[in-house]
Amino acid sequence: MRELMQQLPFVYFGGMALICAILVVVSRVAIYSAMALLGMFVHVAGLFILLDAPFLAGVQLLVYAGAILVLYLFVVMLLNVHGRGAQLQRQTPWAILLSLLAIGEMGYLLTKSHFYPKLPAIPHPSVPTLGNTETIGMVLYTQYLFPFEVASIVLLIALVGAIVMARGRSGIRLE
């Protein structure tokens, strides 16, 4: 019974995330896809909380559901693709074949894998543990300082690149 109570949240969050992911793929209107993606982000954040990563759950909600999704909605509404993007049909046979191949490969791997229902638990490190956020901060600013700086440069380049590309040049406009 206690086992079930622990597994029920996983089944809910995982199942909803998977259903929302499938809805993103099969929705005919782009804005419904974006909304289903919002549901997926929220439920993945729930999974992160189940996995003892509350700080990442917050980041997931803030960055993905707050920033990235708004950007998508902005572009979908700006481009006015309502009704035009409904082209799930008339795909080339190669794409269907490749996706069936991918599904078959994943099914084969999942059925052939040997899953241990009870993996031996790894003992906690004996050092006194800080909270989740403190630990992430400590490791991020000491061990992963250089990748952190590189990430800031990546974001800066993305910022400049997005402005340059979305601004457009007056010479290439239609009409």
Partner: protein, 100 residues
């Protein structure tokens, strides 16, 4: 306790959903959304193993994945907007020329 294999299975299913979406959809905005699904599937794997092994490094990598996803979205949507100005379409099949 939820077994680790459940998380790995969920992650695999979500990844293949995103992959199929990239392959069969033609709306370029939806293709970018499907790439986000794949990145999230990878994040679930990272956090699940981080929790199982009691190592924080997996969660740090999720940070970098989120950073790269944000950069990719900003650049990708910029490219989509400027392509839409040229072709008046979001269908991937219309983007068959690199030149004007």
């Amino acid at each position: 306790m939820v077994p680790l294999s459940w998380y790995v299975t969920l992650s695999a299913l979500m990844f293949v959903t995103g992959l199929v979406g990239v392959l069969i959809r033609r709306n370029i905005v939806v293709v970018l959304l499907c790439i986000e699904i794949m990145l999230n599937a990878v994040n679930i794997n990272f956090v699940a193993f981080s929790d199982y092994l009691h190592l924080i490094d997996g969660q740090i990598f999720v940070f970098f994945v989120i950073t790269v996803a944000a950069a990719e979205v900003a650049i990708g949507l910029g490219i989509i907007i400027s392509l839409f100005r040229l072709k008046e379409s979001v269908n991937m099949d219309d983007y068959n020329l690199l030149k004007l």
